[in-house]
């Protein structure tokens, strides 16, 4: 590395323009050891506290220890923040912070033409260039001419800033991300307070590290202030948002809190059994902290044991929950059927990821819908709900339990990696804003029969062990529709199958109607479900702004569908269904309503871009020829 004088010494502060922007999308990319997730999260927090609306997309490699500097080792974090209401982490970054050549190589093609590329020039040495597959240094050979390249000697500056601290070179190297963070905080006129407060808490017991990180942070900030490399500073004013107290929340955190809220609402202790799996493990981490709420968590020996334990706890009268991702849901399917047969209230969280098989564990997809619907032997209906945004993960968790308990039915809660790891500001609700979550244990032996159903909901009684006089047997073998004894009678099996089906169908009476965003009738309805909400809703809005007759609607209830769905669908000439799978909701809609919905499918492990959905809308309206998705070269975050 070449040593050079520190520009922070410069006594003259350069004059520069301040430009006001509505919306900025930044991506931080570096080696997975470079702490880019931390940089992204800290910038996000500061931005949230500042009052911008925002959305994030963390994206990390599956290999936690991929070779340093290599392409597969690149980790990224994208966030978009704005002075207006936004719903996605942005189609294209305006700014890319790249900590090494591999990060440039895998990300730069997503950067908007003319966008700002900030690099740690010290890392562009022969060895790193080779690992990234660059035949020559892109900083020198003109290949980055489409972007504004800002070369910052981050490694060197960081080292100088940390001079004299009792840390070795490798330890000092670890503070580079704070330097980068400081620089970006300066660029957008943000204060360092939130991060310093956080660092004091996090590194309180490691004074050297705290000192190093804070020094690096300030060095980065001051460098922005004094250098002439940046001609402009940017301002994104706060967004107009609903009054209230806000915090920043990820989908997985919201999921955990939502289930806790449901348990408090109902007054039943929460029991969570799970086996670690990406991207669902955070739910286990969050819930396992909550012993002071009576929450019991069990890390089971495998996926099957996890659902088995949850069924056992549900049988014991607890609010039982298990969580996983697609491969785990496959493993749980036989046991889930036992819950169907024994009609116990149980919620299974599936934070979907790209499949099939191991697929791409850290990449998002929504391809487990049909597995959730049909992935079990026999006719085996369960209820299915799906949050649309990270913060909705909270309310839909409460919904999942409201349904499970009232109808004595297993519910699958379909989140996805994009929602689970993505985050946004969240107006903190109060428990009283939430619907009631009620349950009833049966206690009266005189009126008890294990499968005697509630006439309204068709729910069977919940008779928990320990209740005197209700000793009875249940199990996976077909039961007599009255007594619950083993029964192979043909008419009985037909009747019981129909009960199980109808009980799930009757949930419709408890669902809010599907809302349409935009006019209630028109040319095109864009229908979605799950994590595609932001892109779909924004694309439809933009189409309307262009004078097109386009509305959108988003399903939070997949089984059963809301009662007005068919009416909504028939109010439009065309129905477009964008999905991150090969057309699973389309299949259900076509099958159920005989409506010739147009599927629009992307299976790239990445969320939709708004522009992609807009492009497809134009095609459906006949304004353009067939729309083709463009897949750029290997990229960490972009599609």
């Amino acid at each position: 590395m070449v040593s050079r004088p520190m520009t922070t010494e410069s006594p003259v502060r350069p004059e520069r323009a301040v430009e006001e922007l509505d919306r900025v999308t930044i991506r931080f990319a570096g080696d997975s050891g470079d702490g880019m997730q931390l940089t992204g999260t800290q910038f996000t927090k500061t931005t949230a506290v500042f009052g911008n609306d925002l959305a994030t997309l963390p994206d990390y490699p599956a290999e936690i220890r991929a070779p340093t500097g290599s392409l597969p080792g690149v980790s990224g974090f994208q966030l978009s923040f704005a002075s207006t209401d936004i719903r996605t982490p942005g189609d294209q970054p305006d700014v890319l912070v790249a900590m090494n050549p591999a990060a440039v190589r895998t990300n730069v093609n997503d950067l908007r033409e003319g966008g700002l590329l900030i690099v740690d020039e010290d890392e562009f040495n022969a060895s790193n260039l080779k690992k990234a597959g660059y035949p020559s240094n892109p900083l020198e050979d003109g290949s980055l001419a489409r972007w504004q390249v800002v070369r910052v000697p981050i490694t060197h500056h960081n080292e100088l800033a940390l001079d004299g601290l009792p840390l070795n070179a490798a330890q000092k190297f670890k503070s580079r991300n704070f330097y980068a963070l400081g620089l970006i905080l300066w660029l957008y006129g943000r204060s360092m307070d939130t991060t310093i407060r956080w660092a004091e808490e996090r590194f309180g017991r490691m004074p050297e590290q705290l000192d190093a990180n804070v020094r690096a942070l300030k060095a980065g900030y001051n460098f922005g202030e004094t250098t002439e490399l940046f001609r402009t500073r940017y301002e994104v004013p706060p967004a107009e948002v609903e009054p209230g107290t806000y915090r920043h929340i990820s989908g997985n955190e919201a999921t955990a809190l939502g289930f806790l809220a449901a348990s408090i609402k109902a007054g039943i202790p929460l029991f969570y059994a799970s086996y670690p799996i990406t991207p669902a493990s955070d739910v286990l981490h969050e819930l396992s902290k909550l012993r002071n709420f009576g929450v019991k968590t069990v890390q089971a020996e495998d996926e099957i044991a996890a659902i088995g334990a949850a069924i056992g706890a549900a049988y014991g009268g607890h609010m039982a929950l298990t969580g996983t991702s697609g491969p785990g849901l496959a493993l749980k399917s036989e046991a889930l059927n036992l819950a169907v047969m024994t009609e116990l209230p149980l919620v299974v969280i599936d934070v979907q990821r790209a499949g099939p098989s191991t697929g791409m564990p850290t990449k998002t997809e929504q391809a487990d819908l049909l597995q959730a619907m049909y992935g079990r032997n026999g006719d085996s209906p369960v209820a299915i709900v799906a949050p649309a945004t990270p913060s909705e993960c909270f309310t839909m968790a409460v919904e999942a339990y409201r349904i499970a308990l009232k109808y004595m039915v297993p519910v699958i809660y379909l989140s996805d990696g994009y929602l689970g790891n993505g985050s946004e500001p969240w107006r903190i609700p109060s428990l009283s804003d939430l619907p009631d979550v009620t349950y009833r244990y049966h206690t009266d032996p005189a009126t008890f029969s294990p499968y005697r159903r509630d006439p309204e909901t068709l729910a069977r009684p919940w008779a928990v062990p320990g209740t005197k006089g209700l000793e009875h047997r249940i199990g996976g073998i077909e039961k007599s529709s009255e007594t619950g004894d083993i029964d192979y009678d043909p008419g009985n099996h037909h009747r019981m199958t129909m009960f199980r089906k109808e009980r799930v169908e009757r949930i419709v009476n408890d669902l809010p109607p599907l809302e349409v965003s935009g006019p209630a009738t028109g040319d095109v309805l864009v229908l979605g479900w799950g994590g595609t909400y932001g892109a779909i809703t924004t694309a439809a809005e933009r189409a309307r702004r262009r004078g097109l007759s386009v509305s959108s609607a988003h399903l939070r209830y997949l089984n059963p569908f809301p009662g007005n769905l068919e009416t909504v669908l028939r109010s439009f000439k065309k129905v477009l269904i964008p999905e991150l799978n090969t057309g699973q909701l389309s299949l259900l809609i076509r099958g159920k309503f005989l409506i010739d919905a147009v599927p629009f499918n992307k299976i790239a492990g990445q969320p939709f871009k708004i522009a992609e959905i807009e492009g497809k809308i134009d095609e459906v309206l006949g304004l353009s020829g067939p729309y083709e998705l463009q897949f750029g070269p290997a990229s960490v975050l972009g599609g």
């Binding site: 927090k45 949230a48 009052g51 956080w198 609903e242 209230g244 107290t245 806000y246 915090r247 920043h248 809190l257 806790l260 809220a261 408090i264 007054g267 039943i268 202790p269 029991f271 909550l290 012993r291 002071n292 709420f293 009576g294 019991k296 069990v298 089971a300 020996e301 495998d302 044991a305 996890a306 659902i307 088995g308 334990a309 069924i311 056992g312 706890a313 049988y315 014991g316 009268g317 607890h318 039982a320 036992l338 024994t342 903190i428 609700p429 428990l431 206690t443 928990v464 062990p465 320990g466 209740t467 005197k468 000793e471 047997r473 249940i474 199990g475 996976g476 073998i477 004894d485 083993i486």
Partner: protein, 345 residues
């Protein structure tokens, strides 16, 4: 009614005097006539009243197989689950509800083949469950395929040329996985079986009882060579902790150790030099040596191999909850407002 708490909350029952009849359900028993399962059911029903646990606090959970029909026949709470997974349900139930007395009934196929993984983990966790494994060394319900405990070379419907795999020893598996109570009994010795089931049920922590059970339809006489009344005393050894390992009609023979190898001492006049059984030791070496003894080289050991005290999974989990609550029950607002918040007015 409020939700059940760890201690059973308000689901408190008085303690009526129960008899065997109280544990007989109204279901018709559907095992083959002559099956060893009948005896196990009978000894269980005889033993249950002695536990002095209210009937509604007793839960039987099973998987799939002939043995797994067991819960239907016991008048208590019962859950006939799916193949191999009884222990997973039992683990969830006992973790959530430590106040219940939970029994798991399984077989050699259900517990050691499809459900083998769960067996290991239930044992190492030392969760307070009573596991009874009916070992008939065959698949009965699916009509006669070999099981993981079938002898090497056994000819069955699915192994017409004889098996080419060695059997598992269930006791060894339980010991290796850290079970705190490990015992073996036989269906034909009703007194020993009842006693063993009783002691197992009284043990705090996981108890594992292997019962040699005769399947008279598909594997008749699997244990007859040493369990027949006339030869039993000479071909089986009843282990008793703290006592020399002796067998024979008049307890005239004994077992001693040569290094780590057991040897039969015929007509051992004195106890000197005989192996003394110790079920209470933490070290599983002795139990492992004993369980290695098999007919015809040795008398087959039955009784309690291991019986040690250790904290149970369900209690430890409950303690974490109780301790956390004692420091102050969680307030939902605190969790909601944790981390950085900001107010927009």
């Amino acid at each position: 009614m409020a939700a059940p708490t760890a201690s059973g909350g308000d689901i408190i029952s008085d303690l009526p005097v129960l008899t065997r009849k109280d544990f007989v359900s109204n279901q018709e028993v559907r095992w083959c006539p002559g099956c060893g399962d009948y005896s196990i059911l009978a000894q269980m029903q005889k033993m249950l009243p002695d536990l002095k646990v209210p009937r509604e606090k007793i839960v039987f959970i099973s998987g799939i197989g002939c043995s797994s029909r067991f819960p239907y026949y016991v008048e208590s709470y019962g859950f006939h689950s799916i193949h191999g997974r009884a222990l997973t349900l039992a683990t969830g139930l006992k973790s959530a509800r430590p106040d219940l007395s939970v029994f798991v009934v399984t077989g050699d196929g259900d517990g050691l083949s499809i459900g083998g993984n769960h067996l290991l983990h239930a044992m190492r966790r030392n969760i307070d469950l009573n596991v009874v494994l009916f070992n008939n060394r065959i698949y009965g319900l699916t009509k006669g395929q070999y099981s993981p405990t079938s002898e090497f070379g056994k000819v069955t419907k699915s192994s017409p040329y004889g098996t080419t795999e060695k059997p598992l020893n269930p006791i060894r598996v339980a010991l290796a996985a850290g079970a705190t109570f490990v015992a073996r009994s036989i269906d034909r010795d009703t007194k020993h079986l009842e006693e063993t089931l009783f002691k197992a049920a009284q043990h705090k922590g996981i108890s594992f009882v292997e019962v040699y059970q005769n399947c008279n339809i598909f594997n008749d006489g699997a244990y007859a060579a040493f369990t027949d009344k006339e030869v039993r005393q000479d071909r089986m050894v009843y282990l008793e902790s703290g006592k020399p390992v002796r067998f024979g009609k008049n307890m005239e023979h004994g077992i001693r150790l040569n290094g780590f190898t057991p040897e039969v001492v015929m007509n051992a006049a004195s106890d000197d030099g005989l192996l003394v059984h110790d079920a209470a030791t933490d070290n599983i070496t002795l139990a492992n040596i004993l369980v290695g003894m098999d007919y015809p080289e040795f008398p087959v050991p039955v009784g309690i191999f291991r019986d040690v005290a250790a904290p149970t999974f369900d209690q430890l989990l409950q303690k974490q909850v109780d301790d956390a609550m004692a420091k102050g029950a969680g307030k939902f607002e605190d969790v909601l407002y944790s981390g950085e918040t900001w107010t927009v007015s």
